[in-house]
Structures are given as structure tokens and as C-alpha cells.
């Protein structure tokens, strides 16, 4: 057990990080992510709530459809990322649900309270738990209890009955696999966890495998790969910036972000594949092959599915092209590596029958 975001959380279960990781990619893993912050932003109507949050995030929220979820980022006045968050629209009314990182939630709530206009309010769901069921068997497992879950498409959600538990079920997750995030009232969360763990295809998964799975999937861990100095353009998550928003601006930090979109950022988050067997971990310096410092590794380790070490980090943009040879400084030695495309393990999302993967 370790302390994480003010919670006692397991690094691993008896299976161990490696087998938990592989089990999730092969069958289904259950993650307790109840430390994450769930809240709702409420305005008089959708446009009011959407316009208010759009001053702080660059995502397209006004046109977000009912039953849809979108990843975007909470920005500071300099266009740096305070957190990455999910925004979803539960109904035609003025509510927007958000899910923020556990380690950032108190700061996020204080920021939203301070920066949202008076006629739009933030309500926290401190009494809701969140479970993630991830992996190719996730849909089959959940559909045994809630058949409609199988029909949900990637990044859509619905309120479903799972046995006698009422839950908000969203298709998506943080592993690159098909799967669901399931929000329930606190008193139902443990019961739901037990119900899902009763399935022979489901194993409990700890923080260790959660980290290696998201790293292989090329996804950022806030506080490591993203921080308040980094913009979404530098973070290589410009997909969190809506098309209309790129034309109109109107969010904090827009000046920098629109300039970086037009001119390119000076540094960029990239994937990195070390050539040998030695993992390069967070903090390892990245050098050009002629020994100049060009960046730093922000996440790295062994990728159980990739079967080799994998990493991500920031490099000066002129060294960011896929295939560029670099050196990673590990224990004083320069290890050869290449800038590489992410993800390191293919994404496997459900986008609907016949839609392909």
C-alpha cells in the first residue's frame, strides 16, 4: 500500500504488476479509482454552463452531445495545464459532469469556485465511488449484469442498472483497452466491486499496472507528463482543443496556445524507445547523439505488452521527429534510444458494430 492523492492505495495485488498488466490486456482488470474527483457544473441551461467552463478549458463543450464525454484540460492564465479532465453532458439541462485527477481535485475545485461566474456553480460528488473495468472481456463481463453496456460506444455514457445498483457507465478508460468507468454512490461501490470480481475473467489491479498500462497506451499522468508550465500543444494533446475554439479563442492562455498551434511549440512530448533492455525512468536526461541536453524523460519503465522498455518525455521540437536517435542518461551512462510513435501497445476501443477498431 502507498499513499496517493491522500488515499491509501495498493501498488499491486497478489498477482503482481506484470501479471496484472498482462491480464488486463488479455481479459479484464478492475481498478478502484474512487480517489478521482467527481463533480457537476450547473448553469441555468446548457449554453450557460458550457460557456462558463469554456473560459477555463479549450475543449468544444457547447456542442457536446447529450450522453457524450470529452477529454480536455483545465488551464491557467499562461495556458499551462492545471489538470486533465473529462467533461460529460448527462441531459439537455444545464449540468456538465466532470471527472478530475485525485491528486489535483482540491486545487481544481478551489480554482473553479474562484473562476466560474456567480450564476454557475460547482457541486462536488464526494459521496460517489468510481470503478474502472478494462480489457477485451470487460464488455462481456459487464453485459452479464447490464446488457445495454455492450452497446455503448467509446466516450459515451448512460445510467444503467447493474443488478440492483444504479450506476453511470461510461465507455472508455486509461489503459488503451476497451472498457468502462462506472460511477456509483459510495454505499454501492464495494458491492459492485465484489460482483465484478466474482467473474473468473476479472482480477483486481493496483497502481503499478495502472501506470504501466497507461504508459504503453501513450497517455499522460498528471504531475509527471503534464504540469502547470506545459501547454496542451507542448503536451501533444492538442486534440483537447476544439476546432471552433482554435478560431475563436476565448479561454485563458489562448494567446500562447493559439501561437503554439500556428508556429509550433519549442518542446514536445514524444514517445521514446530505449534500444537495449535497461529502462529509463522519470528524470533521465535526454541528449542528442553529440551530447547536448535536449530534454527529459517524464515517464518510463518496462512495458510488459511491448516486451521492452518504453518511455515518454519532452524534447526540443527539432529533435522530436519519429526515428530521431537520442541518448538517455541512465546512471551516468548514455543509452541509445529513438524517438518513437505512441501508443506502444495498440489501442483497442469499441466504436460500434462495423465501425472497426
Amino acid at each position: 500500500m502507498v499513499e496517493f492523492a491522500g488515499y491509501e492505495m495498493p501498488v499491486q495485488f497478489p498477482l503482481g504488476v506484470m501479471k496484472e498488466h498482462l491480464h488486463t490486456r488479455e481479459k479484464a482488470g478492475l481498478f478502484d479509482v474512487s480517489h478521482m474527483g467527481q463533480a457537476v457544473i450547473v448553469g441555468a441551461d446548457h449554453e450557460t454552463a458550457a460557456r462558463a467552463i469554456e473560459t477555463l478549458v479549450p475543449g468544444e463543450i457547447q456542442k457536446l452531445g447529450v450522453g457524450r464525454q470529452r477529454l480536455t484540460v483545465l488551464l491557467n492564465d499562461e495556458g499551462g495545464i492545471l489538470d486533465d479532465l473529462m467533461v460529460s453532458r448527462p441531459a439537455t439541462d444545464g449540468r456538465l459532469n466532470i471527472v478530475v485527477n485525485g491528486a489535483c481535485k482540491h486545487a481544481d475545485y478551489a480554482y473553479l469556485d474562484a473562476r466560474l461566474p456567480e450564476h454557475v456553480r460547482l457541486e462536488r460528488f464526494d459521496n460517489r465511488g468510481l470503478l474502472a473495468l478494462q480489457g477485451p472481456k470487460a464488455s462481456d463481463v459487464l453485459a452479464k449484469h447490464a446488457p445495454a453496456a455492450a452497446d455503448l460506444k467509446f466516450m459515451t455514457f448512460a445510467e444503467l442498472q447493474i443488478g440492483d445498483i444504479t450506476a453511470v457507465v461510461t465507455r472508455g478508460g486509461y489503459t488503451g483497452e476497451d472498457g468502462f468507468e462506472i460511477s456509483t454512490w459510495d454505499e454501492d461501490t464495494e458491492k459492485l466491486a465484489k460482483l465484478l470480481l466474482d467473474d473468473p475473467d476479472v482480477e483486481p489491479i493496483g497502481l503499478g499496472a495502472r501506470d504501466s498500462l497507461r504508459l504503453e497506451a501513450g497517455m499522460c499522468l498528471y504531475g509527471h507528463d503534464l504540469n502547470p508550465a506545459i501547454s496542451p500543444v507542448e503536451g501533444n494533446i492538442a486534440f483537447t482543443i476544439g476546432k471552433r475554439r482554435r478560431e475563436e479563442g476565448g479561454f485563458v492562455g489562448a494567446e500562447r496556445i493559439l501561437r503554439e498551434l500556428a508556429e509550433g511549440p519549442s518542446r514536445l512530448r514524444v514517445g521514446i524507445l530505449p534500444e537495449g533492455r535497461a529502462p529509463a525512468r522519470e528524470g533521465a536526461e535526454i541528449q542528442s547523439t553529440d551530447g547536448k541536453t535536449i530534454g527529459i524523460v517524464t515517464s518510463g519503465g518496462f512495458g510488459p505488452t511491448a516486451g521492452r522498455p518504453v518511455a515518454m518525455g519532452y524534447v526540443d521540437t527539432d529533435h522530436a521527429q519519429t526515428g530521431t536517435e537520442v541518448h538517455l542518461i541512465v546512471r551516468g551512462k548514455a543509452l541509445p534510444a529513438q524517438i518513437a510513435d505512441m501508443p506502444f501497445a495498440p489501442h483497442n476501443y469499441y466504436r460500434g458494430q462495423g465501425a472497426g477498431k
Binding site: V11, Q12, G16, V17, M18, K19, H21, G208, A209, S212, R277, A278, P279, R281, G301, F302, P304, P309, R331
Partner: protein, 123 residues
């Protein structure tokens, strides 16, 4: 000759004038699945407590320290080639190095198996 243990979970066992050194089964279990081992060069001279090798699991990297001072006279290339062996037989086939001691008396300061097991219990 009995096996001796350090508080950093290395073991050392005398074998024909040199000491075979590895990490304990307890340490291997705590690390989880080992994915990388870095061994020192043969011929290197180390003092007791110096960084001797590196062992990495999916979770983390850990240093392995020299349990006694001396010269590295052999390394177990098999565990560098197949790091998972460390999880299979940490106390035996997955030894790390052989050290020719400069002062075999240093062994006396280490724990015997009973003391080590008690140390692990109370850790």
C-alpha cells in the same frame, strides 16, 4: 559454510575461496517480476556497501550493494540475459557475482539465516 545476509537483502556464501553473492528470495518477491539486471565488470574492485549491481522490476529500480569488499571475479550473465530467473531462484541459480574478498572477516558482521529471517519479520 553457511549463508550470510545484509540488511539490504543481499546474501553471500563461501565457495572455494571466493564468495557467491545474490539477493534474497524475500527481496526478489518484494521487487516483483524482474525485467532488467545490470552487473558490474569482472575485475572491478568494490568496498563493502558500494553500488554493485542494479535490478529493476516493472515497478522500480533498486541498487544491489556489495556485501563485502573485494574484487569481482565472475558475474552471472544468465540473469542479465533472462532477468526472470531472479524471481525463480534468487537463493541459488540466480546468483549475481562472485567476489574475491579483501577481508573475509567482514562476513562476521553479517546476519545468519535465523537473524535475517527475524529481521525481515520485523521490517
Amino acid at each position: 559454510m553457511s549463508v550470510k545476509y545484509t540488511k539490504d537483502h543481499e546474501w553471500a556464501r563461501e565457495d572455494g575461496g571466493v564468495y557467491v553473492v545474490g539477493i534474497s528470495a524475500h527481496a526478489a518477491e518484494q521487487l516483483g517480476d524482474v525485467v532488467f539486471v545490470e552487473l558490474p565488470e569482472v575485475g572491478k574492485t568494490l568496498s563493502k556497501g558500494d553500488d554493485m549491481a542494479v535490478v529493476e522490476s516493472v515497478k522500480a529500480a533498486s541498487d544491489v550493494y556489495a556485501p563485502i569488499s573485494g574484487e569481482i571475479v565472475a558475474v552471472n550473465q544468465a540473469i542479465a540475459d533472462e532477468p526472470a530467473k531472479v524471481n525463480e531462484d534468487a537463493a541459488g541459480a540466480a546468483w549475481f557475482v562472485k567476489i574475491k574478498p579483501s577481508d573475509a572477516g567482514e562476513l562476521d558482521a553479517l546476519m545468519d539465516e535465523a537473524a535475517y529471517n527475524e529481521f525481515v519479520e520485523n521490517e
